[in-house]
């Protein structure tokens, strides 16, 4: 006769799921959520963009 296996405690399930989420969003496996968070912050050093607008006044001056 089959004996049903008891499910893990909800807290254990929550922490396993959080570890799986961390793996899914982290750059490398075997990192904790907090380590992944730190890596995330380091990867998010902001870099600006220099997009120069077209300037009608300058174009007129050159034309």
């Amino acid at each position: 006769m089959h004996t049903p296996t008891a499910l893990p405690q909800p807290t254990t399930r929550i922490r396993h799921a959080l570890a799986r989420l961390a793996l899914a969003s982290a750059v490398s496996p075997a990192v904790t959520v907090l380590a992944a968070e730190a890596a995330h912050a380091a990867d998010r050093i902001a870099v600006n963009h220099n997009e120069t607008p077209g300037r009608d006044r300058d174009d007129d001056a050159r034309s």
């Binding site: 730190a38 998010r44 600006n48 220099n50």
Partner: protein
């Protein structure tokens, strides 16, 4: 927590993990956010759940919702180090969502916490330079500059070469925003030199693109064009065509073509840039303004004054609430609008000034989930902030 609620949280997080593993980060993040909100204040997993949700949402480009999730993660953090990191991430998500004033507020809070922990750490340098870039976006140039130099000194002392390269890149960007290309070009060239010894071709392409923006202003379109073509190849190979970085490069290629009088190429590039920005940032993002005014200038030069004026007005409507009055880009767009309207014999409409900083403090601010006395109750699911199309 009743077992029923914990079971529900576990179910939601397990489904989120399954979706994340299947590559649907946006759906996974939304479920994780729902789960996190069910956990009570003080639960040791609450911060982790919000941080996981936020990281997934940010990676999926849901920056506005990610900013909210990071704010809740900061609120639930057990001490100041993860709180400062969550606030920094909130600031970055808010900046990417175009919510620049909120980004400044989050970064300022993060910097206060980081300084209390260790004012000379690399973490503090990152926060300082991220605050600086956001201040630059809004036109607070004088407040940005010392933060960049402080971050640069820490990065040099700690041997953080990548951070050194980024801060040099951004100091060039600060000069570009101020209209001082002569001051910016040496910083941009140093960024390229620093990046050259790192194995980071995409970062190097970004540095080349940034230098190109300065060279356009300096009247050196040939070198700018060469740098932009090289950078575009690298960025497209890495990110594909449908990426914000590609749009910025195309916007600069439009400016190069415009300077050379090739209006057909300029319009093609500007329209491509605008299309990708609208898709990746949404239709109401202030970073659309620079591309809109370039396209408007092209249309005016091609004789379409009505369309030109419409584009410049849309640019002003997007940018004005996001920056200080007197921002150089606002002035450029206003000049472009005047040029588009003048030949038709109409007067340039008076453009209301943006509220001063003092006036702004009296206006309703952006939603701040952790405002005093307004902690999100356990079980309350954060309302998803409207996101632009992706």
């Amino acid at each position: 927590v009743t077992p029923t609620v914990q079971d529900r949280v576990a179910e939601l997080l397990e489904e989120a993990a399954r979706l994340a593993g299947a590559g649907d980060g946006a759906a996974a993040g939304a479920l994780a956010l729902e789960a996190a909100a069910l956990l009570p204040h003080g639960d040791p997993d609450r911060h982790r759940a919000f941080a996981s949700a936020a990281a997934l949402l940010a990676a999926a480009g849901r920056h506005a919702t990610a900013a909210d999730a990071w704010a809740y993660a900061a609120e639930a953090a057990h001490d100041d180090v993860p709180r400062a990191r969550a606030l920094t991430a909130e600031g970055e998500s808010a900046r990417l969502a175009g919510m620049w004033w909120r980004a400044i507020e989050a970064h300022e809070q993060a910097l206060t916490l980081a300084e209390a922990t260790d004012g000379s750490s690399v973490d503090t340098a990152i926060i300082a330079q991220n605050l600086a870039i956001t201040r630059k976006y809004t036109g607070r140039f004088d407040e940005a500059e010392p933060l960049y130099h402080r971050a640069l000194a820490i990065a040099e002392r700690c041997g953080e070469q990548r951070l050194v390269a980024v801060v040099c890149h951004n100091l060039g960007g600060l000069a570009h925003a101020r209209g001082d290309h002569a001051a910016g070009i040496p910083w941009a060239r140093r960024a390229i030199a620093e990046r050259g010894s790192l194995d980071d071709p995409v970062g190097l392409a970004a540095d080349q693109g940034a230098l190109a923006g300065l060279l356009i202003d300096a009247g050196q379109p040939a070198e700018a064009r060469r740098l932009l073509d090289d950078a575009r190849g690298v960025v497209v190979a890495h990110h594909g065509e449908d990426h914000h970085e590609v749009a910025v490069i195309d916007g600069n290629l439009a400016a190069v073509a415009l300077a050379g009088g090739d209006l057909v190429a300029a319009e093609r590039r500007a329209r491509a840039a605008l299309r990708v920005k609208e898709r990746t940032l949404g239709p109401d993002h202030p970073e659309l303004a620079v591309t809109l005014t370039t396209l408007g200038t092209v249309r005016r030069r091609r004789g379409d004054y009505r369309e030109a004026a419409r584009l410049h007005r849309r640019a002003l409507a997007l940018l004005r609430p996001a920056v200080e009055a007197g921002h150089p880009l606002l002035a450029t767009i206003e000049d472009n609008l005047a040029a588009a309207e003048q030949p038709r014999g109409t007067t340039v409409p008076r453009i209301p000034a943006a509220p001063s900083r003092e006036e702004r403090t009296l206006l309703p601010g952006p939603p701040r989930p952790r405002a005093a006395g307004s902690s999100m109750p356990a079980g309350a699911v954060p309302e998803a902030t409207q996101e632009g199309p992706r």
